[in-house]
Symmetry: C2
Subunit: 196 residues, 2 copies
DNA sequence: CCTACCGATCGGTAGG
DNA sequence: CCTACCGATCGGTAGG
């Protein structure tokens, strides 16, 4: 489903971006050097520049690919005919699946976006704000229709998105629980807290 | 209540640590230079070393001060005679208050601990694991006493801690909501999701 | 894809 | 507290 995965059809540039995501997640963007990245790819550092323009371009590619995936999904869910509860559940499950499928990329987009230079930084923040607003609108619709309890919609969005982000630390020290259990537990906790 | 605040009784070292927390939060640890920090303090870079030993020592001081505050509070709550629900609520409220009172420090401890060198890194992770275990034990006690619904306790801990951490992004672009509203909304959402 | 190398900046020290 | 300066490492280029 995603351009993030690296199959046999991937170019050298894709490989470099994939390795960069892994390196940036482990060490942070600023603390990662192009020499280390070159080692992971299996070439000398200057050779990287035959495929990419700069270090910052790698961060941009990672952050924007992730942002596009999330925006694409929310766009589809937004105007569906299902209940607000069902739509929010779909958003939660999508976040959890993205985290499990594209851990490095999502982690980097969540942690290292601050290192983006302008205009990429402001554009990224703009996209995120808009994403949160759409989610808040769905929750407000649910409150108006008495489906949800009367909570501040933006606080609820924050609570949900942050909780889901926490899977990061889960994925670092994998406990013995299946993806299904994880999803169902989290959906139950967050959705029951919302439901009337 | 906390050694984090910088009042009139603070030494130059305290001032440096406080400014470092602010700088590290804004730019990240690795991307912050000692020259920038010196500028904020109002001295030349080499003068910093009359008060501190190294850049990494600053990160250690910030992370450990925060960790000690949280551990101290949880230690007090842990064996209190109150209901599990009440104890979890106290933990949630403490996290929110810490975030509001010592934003820079908590943010840095949450985001930059990975840049700690060993043995500080493993010690920090050990403390955090132990903190989560104590919270999970309280939740399990609540499940056993039928106070809470039957959720995986470690997933619930993760959900709660992550949601509370999300206040970070709230504090960056302050919306018009009071501390009390924020706390009450979040406690209601998270606790109602837990309660039977 | 490599070797050779650049200017800039880093954390930190010496010496006063 | 400063000036002067160190070795190391950085992102990136030239040239083949």
């Amino acid at each position: 489903m995603s351009k993030i995965r690296t199959g046999q059809g991937s170019s050298k540039k894709d490989v470099i971006i994939k390795k960069a995501a892994s390196l940036f997640r482990q060490k942070g963007y600023a603390a990662s050097s192009m020499r280390e990245l070159a080692d992971l790819v299996g070439v000398e550092a200057p050779s990287l520049y035959n495929h990419i323009g700069s270090k910052s371009e790698l961060l941009q590619a990672i952050c924007y690919t992730v942002a596009n995936e999330f925006n694409g999904h929310l766009g589809k869910v937004k105007n569906s005919k299902e209940s607000c509860s069902k739509r929010i559940e779909q958003v939660i499950r999508f976040h959890i699946e993205m985290m499990l499928e594209s851990f490095d990329e999502v982690y980097v987009a969540n942690h290292e976006w601050k290192q983006l230079g302008d205009p990429f930084l402001s554009n990224f923040l703009q996209q995120r704000r808009s994403y949160e607003n759409v989610m808040a609108a769905i929750i407000e619709e649910g409150i108006a229709s008495k489906e949800f309890r009367k909570l501040h919609s933006h606080v609820a969005v924050l609570t949900i998105l942050s909780a889901v982000r926490g899977l990061e630390s889960w994925l670092r020290h994998r406990k013995n629980i299946s993806k299904e259990d994880l999803e169902n537990n989290m959906v139950e906790h967050l959705l029951n807290g919302l439901n009337k």
